[in-house]
């Protein structure tokens, strides 16, 4: 029990308040200042996270507990937040977005994410999810001059509220039947470990459906492509990674004990999760094949990756899930960073044809994008390959052979569209000249760090794996 457990969340919330106030009082002049404040608060949060490692801090009667899994995820969120802010520096002024508002809302969303992953109390998880969602709706609609952005925000808001209602309803049933808000206790079934009481099962089913909505799992993924495409590009990078990571970790915390224990509960929820994973992988990958906008292609690829990640949840494979999420953070953030660089002043997003000849005119940028896409497809020696390898082999070890066969088939489908982008970049001649070459050191820094992360984790993943194993040894 220590107040220090609150420090990372407090640092982020303080940063959000300062950014918003700077934006409110200084207006346009405050933009860079508020971005600086946001990055500083992220550094502070990062410091507190590293400092809390292995201390098992908790507060509020363990409603907030910084176990290693929570700390790893918090670190992922902090890194992602810093990436998104660095990506938006030039983008925001180009697109007439108030940078202070973007930073403030982003930090509030990060606080929601941190609250979500660091609790085993349903009520707290739900409130964290709502903080994240409310901030995300606003972030999606920040490009106010663009109707697509407003449309995306409205869609996200409606679908998100709907999912939130599911969550509350499930929570009410769970609380009403078990009298407890704890993630684990609702399903213990009165001393019989294998039994599945009907009330909690329905409640848990509703909550799982709501979480599937939030992480864009088929058949609840219809909103995702429009939202990811309409959102400002750096925000899209955030939305494709962060809510997914938090939702999956909550799912893992709930479902791993249920599925691991066997009995009726596992017989009901196991096939549901596996079926959703297979459906998501194929729905995302098959739809991505037909896209001509690169941003939309990446949106569908993000849906497909939810499916691969669900394989890890179905197998109860905590370390595999965390490693995949970290690898995914670098490769997806990198791909969206390159996309941000490619967007011209006219506001249009890069189409597949627009990428033609990029390999000749901007070899470095094209090479980076190629690395990210190969990693997303799962080619060695990138991080994406190892991540898929760990998740799939972990699932086979748990006996989910059919699921893994489906996952491998789906990744084969995905190779087609990732390679199509690379082929267009290197083998087609340019139709129209793409104007890049703005002076954006922050963006190049993000691209460089992501390439570094992808290659480093692909070649020498040892340190991180040790850390993850050490952290999750007590949990799974």
């Amino acid at each position: 029990m220590s107040f220090l457990a609150l420090a990372p969340i407090l640092a982020v919330v303080a940063g959000a308040l300062i950014s918003l106030l700077l934006e409110a009082f200084l207006g346009r002049k405050g933009h860079e200042l508020s971005a600086t404040a946001a990055v500083v608060s992220l550094l502070a949060a990062g410091y507190f996270i590293v400092r809390s490692w292995n201390l098992e801090l908790g507060y509020f009667a363990a409603r907030l507990s910084l176990d290693p899994l929570a700390l790893l995820l918090m670190a992922v969120f902090v890194v992602l937040g810093a990436f998104v802010i660095l990506m938006s520096l030039a983008y925001a002024s180009r697109r007439d977005i108030a940078l202070g508002q973007l930073c403030g809302l982003l930090l509030i969303a990060l606080a929601g994410l941190m609250i979500m992953v660091s609790s085993t109390d349903w009520l707290v998880v739900f409130l964290g999810l709502e903080v994240l969602s409310v901030a995300s709706y606003a972030l999606t609609g920040l490009r106010r001059s663009d109707p697509a952005s407003s449309e995306a925000a409205a869609k996200y808001f409606l679908m998100g509220s709907f999912a939130g209602a599911f969550f509350v309803f499930g929570l009410a049933i769970l609380f009403g039947t078990s009298g407890s808000m704890s993630l684990a206790s609702g399903l213990s079934g009165g001393g019989v470990p294998s039994a599945l009481p009907a009330g909690p099962a329905v409640g848990l089913g509703l909550i799982v459906a709501a979480l599937f909505f939030k992480i864009a799992v088929a058949p609840f993924h219809m909103w995702a492509p429009d939202v990811y495409e309409g959102a400002p590009t750096p925000v899209a990078a955030f939305l494709t990674i962060a809510p997914k990571a938090a939702g999956l970790v909550v799912l893992l915390r709930v479902l791993a004990p249920v599925l691991g224990r066997g009995g009726t509960a596992a017989a009901v929820f196991g096939p549901v999760v596996s079926a959703a994973a297979v459906l998501t992988m194929f729905a995302g990958n098959l739809a991505a094949l037909r896209q001509s906008s690169v941003k939309r292609l990446l949106a569908y690829s993000a849906i497909a990756h939810s499916g691969y990640l669900l394989v890890a949840v179905a197998a109860g494979d905590g370390p595999g899930l965390v490693f995949y999420l970290i690898a995914y953070l670098f490769m997806n953030a990198g791909a969206f960073a390159v996309l941000t660089a490619l967007e011209g002043d006219d506001g249009g997003t890069a189409t597949l044809d627009g990428l033609a000849g990029l390999g000749r005119r901007h070899p470095a940028l094209a090479a980076c994008l190629a690395v990210f896409l190969l990693s997303l497809a799962g080619f060695p020696p990138t991080a994406g390959f190892l991540a898929k390898f760990y998740v799939f082999s972990g699932a086979v070890a748990k006996g989910h052979v059919v699921l893994v066969v489906a996952a491998v088939l789906a990744s084969l489908v995905s190779v087609a569209y990732y390679l199509k982008v690379i082929m267009v970049m290197y083998m087609k001649d340019a139709a129209a000249d793409l104007t890049i070459g703005r002076d954006e050191p922050a963006l190049w820094l993000v691209v460089f760090l992501c390439v570094f992360g992808v290659v480093q984790l692909g070649l020498w993943p040892g340190n991180l794996l040790t850390l993850i194993r050490q952290g999750s040894s007590g949990l799974f």
């Binding site: 409110a24 507060y59 509020f60 409603r63 508002q101 409130l127 964290g128 709706y137 606003a138």
Partner: protein
């Protein structure tokens, strides 16, 4: 007496819900739903749970219905709304407002009446316990809801505030 009130309130509630489903105009639907919520609040009051009654009126009839009405107003209603119905709607709206005011006043009188020796009654103790629970066991969720409200305000400002100043 209790039975009579119960019968009246439930009849109003059922009739309002039926009218809500049958009526074609979205604005009327929303207003009928408010009537149903208000009647429901009265039913909670009959069940000796003043907190549920007040929350029902304040939260549902007050906050959530305002949200509904805003959403309804965002659509173009002129096409759906014949001019002749305007007076009916006005009458309905003012009757509703009076009903809500009466309920709130009643609740307020009962709560302020509790400040005296009646403070030791069971329902008052329940309310006090609820408050204490919120600030002890459920402090963390309470603080997070404060953050949630701030997120909502910041988000609303970002989406709808003045464009130059933000």
């Amino acid at each position: 007496m209790t039975l009579a009130v119960f019968v009246v309130l439930s009849a109003v509630c059922v009739a309002a819900v039926a009218a809500m489903i049958l009526s074609r105009n979205p604005a009327d639907n929303a207003l009928f739903l408010v009537v149903a919520f208000a009647a429901l609040g009265g039913l909670f009051g009959l069940l000796d749970s003043p907190f549920a009654a007040v929350a029902q009126v304040l939260v549902y009839a007050g906050a959530i219905m305002v949200l509904f009405l805003f959403a309804v107003m965002m659509f173009d209603l002129r096409r759906l709304e014949p001019r002749s119905r305007k007076r009916v709607r006005l009458g309905l709206a003012s009757a509703l407002a009076a009903l809500l005011l009466a309920e709130l006043a009643l609740a307020g009188i009962r709560i302020s009446g509790l400040a005296g020796p009646a403070w030791r009654s069971a329902e008052a103790r329940d309310m006090a316990r609820l408050g204490r629970l919120l600030f002890t066991d459920y402090l963390y969720p309470l603080e997070i809801s404060a953050l949630l409200l701030m997120a909502a305000i910041a988000g609303a400002l970002a989406l709808a505030g003045r464009k130059d100043a933000g």
